[in-house]
Amino acid sequence: MTDNIDQLRGELLAAVSAAQDAAAIEDVRVGALGKKGQITGLMATLGKMAPDERKAFGQRLNVLKDEIAAALDGRKREFESAALNARLASEHMDVTLPIRPEAKGTLHPITQTMDEVAAIFGQMGFEVADGPDIEDDFHNFTALNFPPGHPAREMHDTFFLPPGEDGNRYLLRTHTSPVQIRTMMTQKPPIRVIIPGRTYRCDYDMTHTPMFHQVELLVIDTETNMSHLRGCLQEFVRTYFGVDDLTTRFRPSFFPFTEPSAEMDIGCSRKGGELKIGNHGDWLEILGCGMVHPNVLRACGLDPDVYQGFAAGMGIERIAMLKYGIPDLRTFFESDLRWLRHYGFAALDIPSITGGLTR
C-alpha cells in the first residue's frame, strides 16, 4: 500500500507540474480529489480495513490529500498571477490627463468678512440683528439725533424714494444704525448685537459706491463704559487682522448719535506705497464709535441716566480690502468671474475662532 501512495503522489505531482493552464489543473483536481478521483477512491476503501490498518493508512492518505491540494492551489495561483501580470501589462492609462471638469464655487469676500466679524463678536456674546434697506426718516436720522435740517444730514448723500401716499418720504438707509433704534425699541437691555447689512449713499467714484456694506455694534446695559468700548474693539481688530499685539489709537471725533465719540486707528506702515497692518509707526483709520448719545437712548424710551452703552460701525468692504489686499472697492460689485474666483472663498472655509478665522 505504501508503494501505491508514493507512486500516486509522484504521478499526481508530476501531473500538477505538467498542467499548462487553469483547465488542466482542474482536470488534475477532478482526477485526484473529485467524486471519482483517485484519492477519493482510496478514501472509500478505508471503511473495509481493520481499525489499526485504517488508522495508519488514513493518516498517510490525508497527508497525501493535503499535499496534492496545496500543490494544485500553488500551481493555480501561478497561473492566476501570470494571467494578472499579462492583463496588467496590457492595461494603461495616461494619468497625466487632466481630470474631468469639476466646478469650484466660491463665496464673495463680503460674505466671508461678515462671517469672520460674526465669529469674533459671537465669542463676546453678541447676537446678529437685521433691519430693512428702505427706512423712514425717524429711524435713519431723527432718532439717531440728526435734527431735521442739520448739516450732518447733508453729509449722508441720501437716496430718497418719491413721497408716498401716506405723506412719508422713505429713503435707503445710509448706515446700519437705524437697526440700533429698532433693536432698542423692541428688546430690553442688556443688549449686545452686531448688525451687518447693505447701506446706500448717492456717491460713486474711485473710493465710493452707491451701495456698500457696514457692520454696526451695539451694547446697552447699565455699566458698559468707554474702557469696554476700547477693550472690545481692540480685541476685535487684533483677532480680525491676526496681529496679537496690534496697537490702536483712539481719537475724539463727532457723530450725532454718540457722545463721547471716537475714531479708532490701527498701526500700519505705508512704506513704498504698500499698506501693511502692524505696529510700524503709522496710523490707519478703521472705524467710528462712541457711547450711545442720551438723545438716542431717550428716543428709544431708555433713561440715559440709567442705561448706557456703546455703538461702533465699520465698512465691510474696507476691512476686507485691508485684510485681503483688494485694491479697488468698485470691483466688489462687478461680478467679474476672474475676481470672484481670485478673491472668493471656498464653501467649506467657515471662519471660527476655535477652528481658525482665516485659512
Partner: protein, 802 residues
C-alpha cells in the same frame, strides 16, 4: 480749516515743535488732515546773487546770468522777465529735487548755452504767492546760506473739523484747546473797545417781524471814515496766501482774516453806496442780488438779507453783494457784525448752492458773544492798516441768552468714560476750556462758555474731560462675557448662511450686485410687484429697486461672456423689493447658469445648461434652507405661478401645498434679447422666507434607523404614456402603489419615437422593493408589480411597454 504755525503762535505762547502741536491737535479731536512744512524740501536751495544778466544769443526771452554763491560762480540760463543783475535769488544746483515737479535738476544746455542751475519761482518751490517771475529776496539776504533761513516758510496745518466744533473754526479757538491740553499758554486778545469819536449817521434798522427776530437776534455796525483802502501789508497777504485765500484789499482782507482768526465773519460795505439805515429783513419774493462771487441770485422770503432803505445789500451770513462792496476808492466803510440762525443759514446756503467761509461758520453756530468784540477787533485792525476815524457802535437787537447750567457728577467720568481721574483734575480741565464750575462733591453745576453751544448734557462734559486728558489714556477693558458663548444667529440667519455655502459647494460663484437696476430691465421681471423708483438715482441705469435678482445676474453673465467667459454659474442671496415701504422686501437666493455645464473636455461631449440644472440648484438651496424637499411638487405653467420671464415650455415652480417656494427654468429668449445678453441662460429663485425651518421636536435625536437584513429586490418597468404626462405624475403613482415595500423609484430612460407611436413616450423606471420581515417570494413580487401597473394606468393612463 487751514492755518499756519506763526498764525497759531499769535494766540498761543508755546515752544512746542510743529510735530508736537500736530500730534496734540489730533489727540484732542482736531484731527490734522495735512501738515505741510515747506522748509522740509528746501534745505538744498541756497541764496545767490546775480552778478550779470546778459541777453541769450539764440533766444529773445532768455537771459544768461552769472550767478555767485560766495564760493563759486555759475552760468545759469533764466527765462524770468525779472531776472536782472544785482538781484538776490533762490538757486537750485544740479542734483536737487524741484518740489513742484519732483524731478531732479540736471546740468544741461538751453538753446545751445550751458546752464549750471536754476533760479526758482515761488510755485516751483510749491510756495504760495505771486509766481510771475523768480523770487526776489531782500537785498540784505546773505549769499550762500540755505533759503530756509531767509524765506518765511511757515508750516501750514490743515485740520478736519467735525461739525460740532464751531469753537475751533477760529485760530484762537484752536489755541485755546491746545493751551487747555497743556501745550502752552493762551495769549490775551486785544479786544478792548475802540473809542468812537462821533455818532454814526447810519443807524441799524431790524426789519424782521417779532416771530423772525431769532433769524438775526443781534446786528452791530459802525461807520469808519477817512480810511485808505490800500493793499494789505505783507504779513497779512502772506497768511491769506498760505491758506489759499486771495488777498483783495486791506479792508476785505481784514474781514477774511478775522473769519479765520476768530471764527467771526464780518462784512464791510462802502458807506457811500448805501442809502438810509441798514439791517436784516426777509428777502422779497423773487428779489435778486448780484453777489461778490459774480453770480446773480434769485432769493425767496425764507431767506434773510441785509438791506438798506432801498435794496438788499447782501445775503445774510453767506455772501455780500457786488454793488455795495468796498473798492480801493472807498473812503468810508460801514462795518457789519451780526448773528444769524444756523438752520436758516444752512437752508439758504443749500438752496442757493453757495459755499463760503461765512456760511460754514454761521450754519454751525458762531459764538453769540462775539458780535461786539468782533466789531471792535476789526475796527482796531482797520485803523491800524487803513487809518480812519471810528464812530460809536450802532446796535440792533441783543445777544441771545446762551448761559445754561449742567448738573454734573464727576464720578461720571469713570462710570461712562472708564477713566479714574481725581475731581480736582476734572475741574481743572473744564476750567481751562472756559467752563465755569460751581458746587462740590457729586453735585456740580457747570456752565459752558459762550463758544461751546455744542455742549448740552453731562455726557458732553465727560467727553471734554476725556479728550483733553487724552483718549489714549482710556484703559482697554475686555467686555465681561459668559464662560460659554451662546448661539448668535437666528434660525433665518443660519438658513441663509447654509444656503450660500451649499450653493458655493455646488460650484456656483457667489456675487453681490446692486439693489438697483435700470427701470426697463426691472419691468421685465416685475410680475405683479409695483415699481419702486428712486427720486434721486445716481444714474438712469440705477434708478429702480430690484423686483428680482435675476436681471442683475443675467447682466453679470453677459459682461463675463463679453470677456470670453461664456460659462457662468453665479448666485446671490439678497433682497428683492416688493414695495416702497420699510419691510416690503424679502430675502431671495437666486442662481443663474449660462453657456455650457463645463468646458470642452477629452472625456466626453459637453451640453448646454438646461432647466433641470436650474431645478437642481433650486432643490439644493431649498434643502439647505431646510425645506421638506421630498414633499415638494413641481408644477408648470403661468397658472401655477411660473413667472413670465421664463421660457413657457421649459420652466416650473416647486410648491409645498399651494405655496411656491421656488421658480426655475430657462430664461425667456425674448427677455434675454431685451437684456442684450446671449442665451441660453437658466436660473432659479428661492423664496427663503417662505421656508419654515423644521423644528426640533425632541431635541437633536434622529428617528431610529430601521435597516432591513433582507435583500432588496429591483424590478424594471417601462410604461408608454401620452407625451403630456409628466414624469413626476408617473413616479408618484409608482411610489404610492405600495408605500411599505417600495423604497426607491428611479427613472432611467425616456424614449420618444417610432416604437411607441405619435404623441406617446416611454418612461422606464427601476423600482426597489425592500422586505422587512422575510425574503420576498415570487408571488409577492408579482403582486406588487401588478399594483404598480394598475396604479400607473389609473393615474396616467400608462400601459406597460411590451
Amino acid at each position: 480749516m487751514k492755518f499756519t504755525l506763526s498764525w497759531l503762535k499769535e494766540h498761543l505762547d508755546t515752544n512746542a515743535s510743529v510735530d508736537e502741536i500736530s500730534a496734540k491737535l489730533t489727540s484732542t479731536g482736531l484731527e490734522v488732515e495735512n501738515l505741510v512744512n515747506p522748509a522740509a524740501g528746501l534745505v538744498s536751495f541756497i541764496v545767490a546773487h546775480i552778478a550779470e544778466a546778459a541777453q541769450h544769443p539764440n533766444a529773445d526771452r532768455l537771459r544768461v546770468c552769472t550767478v555767485e554763491t560766495g564760493t563759486e560762480t555759475l552760468q545759469v540760463v533764466c527765462g524770468a522777465p525779472n531776472a536782472r543783475a544785482g538781484l538776490k535769488v533762490v538757486l537750485a544746483r544740479p542734483g536737487v529735487t524741484i518740489p513742484a515737479t519732483g524731478d531732479v535738476l540736471k546740468k544741461g544746455a538751453i538753446r545751445g548755452v550751458e546752464s549750471q542751475g536754476m533760479l526758482c519761482s515761488l510755485s516751483e518751490l510749491k510756495l504760495p504767492g505771486d509766481s510771475a517771475g523768480i523770487i526776489e529776496l531782500p537785498a540784505d539776504a546773505p549769499v550762500g546760506v540755505t533759503v530756509t533761513q531767509v524765506l518765511s516758510l511757515d508750516p501750514i496745518i490743515e485740520i478736519n473739523l467735525t461739525p460740532n466744533r464751531v469753537d475751533a473754526l477760529g485760530v484762537r479757538g484752536i489755541a485755546r484747546d491746545l493751551a487747555a491740553a497743556g501745550l502752552g499758554k493762551l495769549k490775551p486778545i486785544k479786544d478792548s473797545a475802540v473809542t468812537g469819536t462821533f455818532d454814526s449817521a447810519r443807524k441799524i434798522k431790524m426789519r424782521l417781524a417779532a416771530d423772525d427776530t431769532k433769524l438775526c437776534p443781534q446786528f452791530v455796525g459802525r461807520t469808519i471814515r477817512g480810511v485808505k483802502n490800500t493793499e494789505s501789508p505783507a504779513w497779512l497777504k502772506e497768511r491769506l496766501n498760505a491758506i489759499g485765500l486771495r488777498p483783495v484789499s486791506a479792508i476785505v482782507d481784514i474781514t477774511q482774516y478775522l473769519t479765520i482768526d476768530l471764527g467771526r465773519p464780518l462784512h464791510a460795505f462802502d458807506d457811500a453806496k448805501l442809502n438810509g439805515d441798514v439791517g436784516p429783513r426777509l428777502a422779497l419774493p423773487s428779489e435778486s442780488l448780484a453777489a461778490l462771487n459774480g453770480e446773480a441770485y434769485t432769493l425767496d422770503p425764507t431767506m434773510v438779507v441785509i438791506a438798506d432803505d432801498s435794496a438788499a445789500l447782501g445775503i445774510a451770513g453767506i455772501m455780500g453783494g457786488e454793488p455795495s462792496s468796498v473798492t480801493e476808492a472807498t473812503t468810508t466803510v460801514f462795518l457789519e457784525s451780526a448773528l444769524f440762525d444756523p438752520m436758516n443759514i444752512a437752508s439758504t446756503g443749500r438752496k442757493l448752492l453757495i459755499n463760503s467761509d461765512a456760511r460754514y461758520a454761521f450754519e454751525r453756530g458762531v459764538d453769540p458773544e462775539s458780535a461786539i468784540t468782533g466789531a471792535e477787533v476789526a475796527t482796531r485792525m482797520i485803523q491800524d492798516i487803513c487809518g480812519g476815524e471810528a464812530s460809536h457802535l450802532v446796535e440792533g437787537g441783543a445777544a441771545p441768552a446762551w448761559k445754561r447750567e449742567i448738573a454734573f457728577n464727576p464720578a461720571r467720568v469713570k462710570s461712562l468714560g472708564g477713566v479714574d481721574l481725581p475731581s480736582a483734575d476734572i475741574k481743572a480741565i473744564l476750567e481751562r476750556l472756559g467752563f465755569v464750575v460751581a458746587g462740590n462733591g457729586d453735585d456740580w453745576k457747570v456752565t459752558p462758555p459762550s463758544w461751546r453751544a455744542d455742549v448740552e448734557g453731562w455726557q458732553d462734559l465727560v467727553e471734554e474731560v476725556l479728550r483733553i486728558h487724552g483718549y489714549d489714556n482710556i484703559p482697554p477693558t475686555p467686555l465681561p462675557r459668559a464662560p460659554m458663548p451662546k448661539v448668535m444667529l437666528t434660525a433665518g440667519q443660519r438658513q441663509s448662511a447654509f444656503t450660500r455655502r451649499s450653493l458655493a459647494a455646488r460650484g456656483l460663484n457667489e456675487t453681490t450686485t446692486w439693489s438697483f437696476l435700470p427701470g426697463a430691465q426691472a419691468d421685465l421681471f416685475r410680475g405683479d410687484l409695483p415699481v419702486v423708483a428712486l427720486a434721486n438715482p445716481i444714474s438712469s441705469d440705477l434708478d429702480v429697486l430690484r423686483p428680482s435678482l435675476i436681471p442683475n445676474l443675467a447682466a453679470a453673465a453677459g459682461r463675463n461672456a463679453a470677456r470670453g467667459m461664456n460659462d457662468c454659474a453665479l448666485f446671490e442671496v439678497g433682497p428683492r423689493f416688493e414695495g416702497p415701504k420699510p419691510g416690503q422686501q424679502t430675502l431671495i437666493a437666486a442662481a443663474l447658469r449660462s453657456g455650457h455645464t463645463n468646458a470642452r473636455h477629452w472625456a466626453g461631449a459637453r451640453r448646454p445648461v438646461d432647466a433641470l440644472d436650474a431645478k437642481a440648484d433650486a432643490l439644493a438651496a431649498l434643502e439647505a434652507a431646510g425645506a421638506p424637499v421630498s414633499s415638494l411638487q413641481a408644477w408648470t405653467g403661468a397658472n401655477n405661478g411660473v413667472p413670465a420671464w421664463y421660457h413657457p415650455g421649459r420652466s416650473g415652480v416647486l410648491k409645498l401645498g399651494n405655496q411656491v417656494l421656488a421658480a426655475f427654468g430657462e430664461l425667456h429668449p425674448g427677455v434675454l434679447t431685451s437684456l442684450d445678453v446671449k442665451g441660453p441662460m437658466v436660473a432659479c429663485e428661492v423664496f427663503l422666507e417662505r421656508i419654515t425651518p423644521s423644528k426640533k421636536k425632541a431635541g437633536s435625536a434622529r428617528p431610529l434607523l430601521k435597516a432591513s437584513n433582507f435583500q432588496p429586490v429591483e424590478r424594471d418597468f417601462a410604461f408608454v404614456v401620452d407625451s403630456g404626462v409628466t414624469a413626476e405624475a408617473l413616479l408618484r403613482a409608482v411610489r404610492n402603489a405600495d408605500k411599505d415595500l417600495i423604497t426607491d423609484v428611479g427613472l432611467f430612460d425616456v424614449y420618444v419615437g417610432a416604437h411607441v407611436g405619435e404623441g406617446k413616450k416611454s418612461l422606464a423606471v427601476s423600482v426597489t422593493l425592500q422586505p422587512k420581515d422575510a425574503t420576498l417570494t415570487d408571488e409577492q413580487i408579482d403582486a406588487v408589480a401588478k399594483k404598480i401597473i394598475a396604479a400607473v394606468e389609473k393615474a396616467c393612463g400608462g400601459v406597460l411597454r411590451s
